[in-house]
Each structure stands twice: as structure tokens, then as C-alpha cells.
């Protein structure tokens, strides 16, 4: 009745009977989150920080085994930082900049990501997913201890959902049997195979692409000095597959991903002797221990709509992409970042329900961008026709000799944050400023002495002023906007000017609680900015 679907790495929230289970009438909760994975916990952190009572129901009792997602991008870490758990991730994670590309057995070129200076977080860290989830859960417990109204119940599986206009009724299975609760809002963060999506009969479609990866985490024995680099092989003759990726994780663990096609005998492939045969052919005479292995399959799909009345979907439950480019967990975190403040404002009666539809607009935009990029990578790595193969091989052959062909090599376009161009929440760009900070963009970080700009943005609406005057705060129909005054005269790195002023002499930015730009202008104009606040909260088109 209650079999675990996977093995736990850490048991964090053992089943405990809740008073809800003995209540005479179903207890109603403001928000219920279905799923205690990285996206579900992040949702609880976002809402918990706003003081919104949030109940997470998970059918397991902790963090699943296996490294799974390993590549966490800057924006994802910045979101985690806003929730108060980015720093331990950065400390534990492995930062890498050098990549090497091989075709068959030959190295064709290497590259350096040449990270941009002046950000608190690097472009990427490699970190095993269980660590990532643990740091989020540490923060979850810390917030609980500080009185945040968030709760997680282990071995609580939602078996039935009944959707009403203003609430949902949930039937929850536990080791002590079933009970019923109600939720004003339900957020499905229950993964790619989302039981919630199935129960409600929502579609999950798109450009279907099927492939599988044999993933092996290994720990090198002895004094093996493998560099901290990303190595990617196209058609390795020694790996028997379309591609192989070798990547370093913390604890001297290396991730090897073999792309092995769709029709594989899982059981046979997962036998240790068969995994070792692949690894040995690949690594030569290196001694290693096997830490974890798995076969991972994926499809590129998304739901038609991420919002259905009182029910939202986030993360893999809403959209799934190929692993090329690290766009899974990273885009799920951006979903949460986007939804949290909107739901908070609507629940507080400070914004209309229409604001929640913008979650759908903005995150579908994000999902489509991710699916497009990951589909293109997939098509480059596993060409679908003879001509496509010929062109791909020609690009690789040229890239060994000429620099121009290297940007065409697509082994995964690494996840960059989504800019919500065309969002109904954006006001028209009124500043002759840098393109990267146009309305809809996530704010890029800038060093401010010992601190960073992003730590001063987020959670509320902020009016960032650079070398121009404005009131310290103003309120527009229940929304408080606080000013953050900065000057390009006190900008030793010149990055504030470079990233926020460009050619402009001064600037005013209206920044949303998720650190995205809603509007910008050269100076404070009360009428325009009040309209921008209304627009950014779904009150004006």
C-alpha cells in the first residue's frame, strides 16, 4: 500500500500522525504543495518567507538517492540565495569553467566559459541533487524554528483531488489510512510523471523526443588527477552511444552520462559488469568505486497551461526537457520565483486574480525557450537524417581547425535566465539603457562594496534609482514600493553603469519581488511609475 518508489539518501521528515487526520471535518489549508522535491520545498520557502501558511505533502520521507540534477545555474542559485540557502550550495559545489569537446576519439577543441566578473554566484556549480535538497530542507527547518507557518508531512500521498471554484478537496493516504483536507490553492510540484496531472486529466504534449541515459557516479581510487572540466564526446567509439559527458561533482565523485538510445534493456544495462565494461573502455586503466547508477529517460514536453483555476503546476510536472543545458531544476526554480509573490499578493487581496495568469504567460515563455534550446542540442547530438549528420560532422571537423565553427557545436546551451519579453506585466522601455536590463529581464548582480546588489532586491517592489531623485517610498493601491538609491559615482568596478545605465546619465528601475525589471525610465515620474506598479500587479493592461 505504501511502497517507496525510490531509496532515500536522507530521511528528513518521517511520517507523524497529524491532528488533521482525526478532525471531524476536513481542515482547510491556505496552500498545499504536492511533492517535497526541490521545487516543492522551494515553493514552501518562498511562501513561508511571506508568512503564508503552506503545507507540503510528500509520499516519501526525505531526499531521494542519486546525484540526478547536478548542474545548478546562476539564476537558480540567486533564487536560492533569496530564500536564504544559496551560500551552503556555493560552498559545497564545484565551480568549473573549462570544457573540452571530443569527436569520436579526437579532441576537437576546448573552451573557457570566461565567467563574467562581479556576481555573487558563478555561472554554474556542480552539486549532487541530494545536497541541494538538504540545504533547502535545512533552511525550511530554520524558518519553521523562527515561526514560519510551513509544514511538511512525509508519507502523505494525495490519491484524489476534487477541484471547486474556490478550493480543492484532497484525499490523502498515509500509513494510518486516508484522511481529507481542503486547500484554497494547490501547487503540483510532483515531478515529470506528475500524478496530479494524471488525476486531473491534463495533457502533457509537445515535440516528443525519446532517449535514455545511463548515468554512473564513480569515485576515483588513488591519486588520479582528473581536472575540474566538462568533457563532452560526440559518438565516442569507446562508449557505444551518441554522446558521453564527464563532469566533476563534490566529494571527488565524477558523473559519467552515456547516451544510449531509447530501446535499451534496462535491467541488462544496469548490471554492474555492463556499466563497468562501458566505463573501463572509456576511462582506460583507472580504478574506481561505483557510487550510484541509474537509467534516465526524458521527453521534451509541456502542459498546455500551467494554471487551472486554483491549481498550479511547477517544475517537471509542468514541463520536461532533455538534460542538455541544465534546464530542468533550474527552470523549476524560476517557476517558483515567479509564482510565489504573485500568489502572495492575490491571497492578501492586494492584486487581482488576473495576476496569476501572468505566471502562465511568463513561465510558458520560459518553458518554450528551454524546450527549443534543448531540442536543438538534442538534434545536434543525435542528428535525425543523413544530411543532418553530415552537417553536424562537418561543424565538428571545422571546429578543430577554425574558431568560427566552435559556437555552432551544440553539446547543450547552458541555461541562462529567461527574460519575459512581451509580458503583460512589463511597461514599455523608456530608458536608453543596456539591453540586458530591459523590462522583463532578471536583474544582473553588481558588487556593492562587500555586498552585492541582488541581496538588496527582491521580496518587495523596489525602486532602484541611480543618480536621480525619488521619494523614499510610495504606495499604490496596497503595494508598497521602497527606494534603493545608488550612484554610479561610487561604482569602482564600473559595473553598475555598465549593467544598468549604459549610455544613460541616470535611471529609475521598478523591480519586482522576483528581481525582474518591470519598468525603467531616466528619472522618477510619479504618474508613469504608479501605472507601472499597477501593470506589474495585473491591474492595468
Amino acid at each position: 500500500m505504501f511502497d517507496d518508489r525510490y531509496t532515500l539518501a536522507y530521511k528528513r521528515y518521517p511520517y507523524k500522525k497529524s491532528p488533521d487526520q482525526d478532525a471531524s471535518a476536513p481542515v482547510r489549508h491556505p496552500v498545499v504543495v504536492m511533492g517535497g522535491g526541490p521545487i516543492g520545498i522551494a515553493t514552501a520557502l518562498d511562501l513561508g518567507l511571506q508568512g503564508i501558511p503552506t503545507l507540503v505533502l510528500d509520499d516519501h520521507e526525505g531526499v531521494g538517492m542519486g546525484s540526478r540534477a547536478i548542474c545548478f545555474a546562476k539564476r537558480c542559485l540567486e533564487v536560492a540565495d533569496r530564500y536564504g540557502c544559496g551560500e551552503p550550495m556555493l560552498e559545497k559545489g564545484v565551480v568549473w569553467n573549462v570544457g573540452k569537446v571530443f569527436h569520436k576519439d579526437d579532441k576537437v577543441f576546448e573552451f573557457n566559459l570566461l565567467p563574467e566578473e562581479g556576481h555573487k554566484y558563478p555561472a554554474f556549480i556542480n552539486l549532487q541533487q541530494p545536497y541541494y535538497e538538504s540545504y533547502q530542507l535545512d533552511r525550511f527547518e530554520e524558518l519553521q524554528a523562527q515561526g514560519a507557518p510551513i509544514e511538511i508531512r512525509g508519507k502523505n500521498r494525495i490519491d484524489n483531488v476534487e477541484v471547486h471554484d474556490d478550493h480543492v478537496v484532497l484525499t490523502v493516504m498515509t500509513p494510518d489510512g486516508e484522511y481529507t483536507i481542503e486547500a484554497e490553492w494547490l501547487i503540483g510540484c510532483d515531478g515529470a510523471s506528475s500524478p496530479l496531472r494524471e488525476m486531473l486529466g491534463y495533457d502533457f504534449s509537445g515535440k516528443v523526443f525519446q532517449d535514455s541515459f545511463l548515468i554512473a557516479d564513480i569515485k576515483m581510487k588513488g591519486d588520479v588527477d582528473f581536472p575540474t572540466e566538462r568533457w563532452f564526446w560526440f559518438e565516442p567509439s569507446h562508449g557505444e552511444g551518441a554522446s558521453v559527458l564527464l563532469h566533476r561533482q563534490p566529494d571527488d565523485v565524477w558523473r559519467v552520462d552515456f547516451q544510449i538510445g531509447w530501446d535499451v534493456d534496462r535491467k541488462e544495462e544496469l548490471k554492474e559488469e555492463n556499466i563497468r565494461r562501458r566505463l573501463d573502455a572509456f576511462l582506460g586503466g583507472v580504478e574506481y568505486d561505483m557510487v550510484w547508477s541509474s537509467i534516465y529517460t526524458f521527453q521534451c514536453k509541456r502542459m498546455e497551461s500551467f494554471r487551472h483555476g486554483r491549481v498550479f503546476f511547477a517544475g517537471d510536472a509542468a514541463h520536461q526537457v532533455s538534460p542538455f543545458g541544465a534546464r530542468g531544476a533550474n527552470s523549476g526554480m524560476q517557476d517558483v520565483d515567479n509564482l510565489g509573490w504573485k500568489l502572495g499578493l492575490v491571497m492578501a487581496g492586494k492584486a487581482p486574480d488576473a495576476l496569476l495568469d501572468s505566471y502562465n504567460f511568463e513561465r510558458i515563455h520560459g518553458a518554450d525557450e528551454n524546450i527549443l534550446n534543448s531540442t536543438r542540442s538534442t538534434d545536434f547530438i543525435t542528428p535525425k537524417s543523413a544530411m543532418s549528420t553530415l552537417l553536424r560532422d562537418s561543424v565538428l571537423a571545422l571546429s578543430e581547425h577554425y574558431e568560427f565553427a566552435r559556437p555552432m557545436v551544440n553539446s547543450g546551451r547552458l541555461s541562462v535566465p529567461c527574460t519575459y519579453d512581451g509580458s503583460p506585466l512589463n511597461s514599455a522601455d523608456a530608458l536608453d539603457g543596456p539591453e540586458r536590463t530591459r523590462p522583463g529581464s532578471p536583474c544582473p548582480d553588481v558588487p556593492l562594496g562587500d555586498e552585492f546588489l541582488l541581496s538588496k532586491l527582491g521580496n518587495d517592489f523596489i525602486l532602484l534609482t541611480i543618480d536621480t531623485d525619488a521619494p523614499e517610498s510610495f504606495e499604490e493601491d496596497g503595494i508598497t514600493v521602497k527606494r534603493l538609491a545608488l550612484s554610479a559615482n561610487n561604482d569602482p568596478t564600473n559595473l553598475l553603469k555598465e549593467r544598468y545605465l549604459g549610455e544613460a546619465e541616470s535611471a529609475v528601475y521598478l523591480i519586482r519581488p522576483d528581481q525582474h525589471v518591470a519598468a525603467r525610465r531616466p528619472s522618477f515620474d510619479e504618474t508613469q511609475l504608479r501605472a507601472a506598479v499597477r501593470r506589474a500587479t495585473g491591474k492595468e493592461q
Partner: protein, 66 residues
Amino acid sequence: MSDLILNPNINGVDDFYAELVATHEGLSDEESQALNARLLLVMANHIGDRAILSQALSAAALKSKE
């Protein structure tokens, strides 16, 4: 924005044509195909202009401009 040049534009076109054919001499069909693909990519990079490249793709597909 400039348009794809579809009027004669190569000086000594007979020379060029001969050189093109000569470059393929002695190659297998497969090698020739690969050479053509590399040549295409080299020239596309030299052109660079996205709009021109799109026009060139349409022209090569013998799609007439509307």
C-alpha cells in the same frame, strides 16, 4: 538591409567553377559531400548576415520570392 546578390558577381567565373570541380577530384562521393558541407559552412560564416543567409537558403531551395 541589403539583398542577396542573384546577379553575376564572380570575376573569372570559369576559373572559379574549374577550381570548385578540381577540389572534388579524386574524392569519393562521401568525401565530396563532406567537402561541400564544410564549404557551405565556411561561406555561410563569411556572409554572416542572418537575413542574407535566409534569402540564400530560400534561393537554393528554388523558392521564388513572393
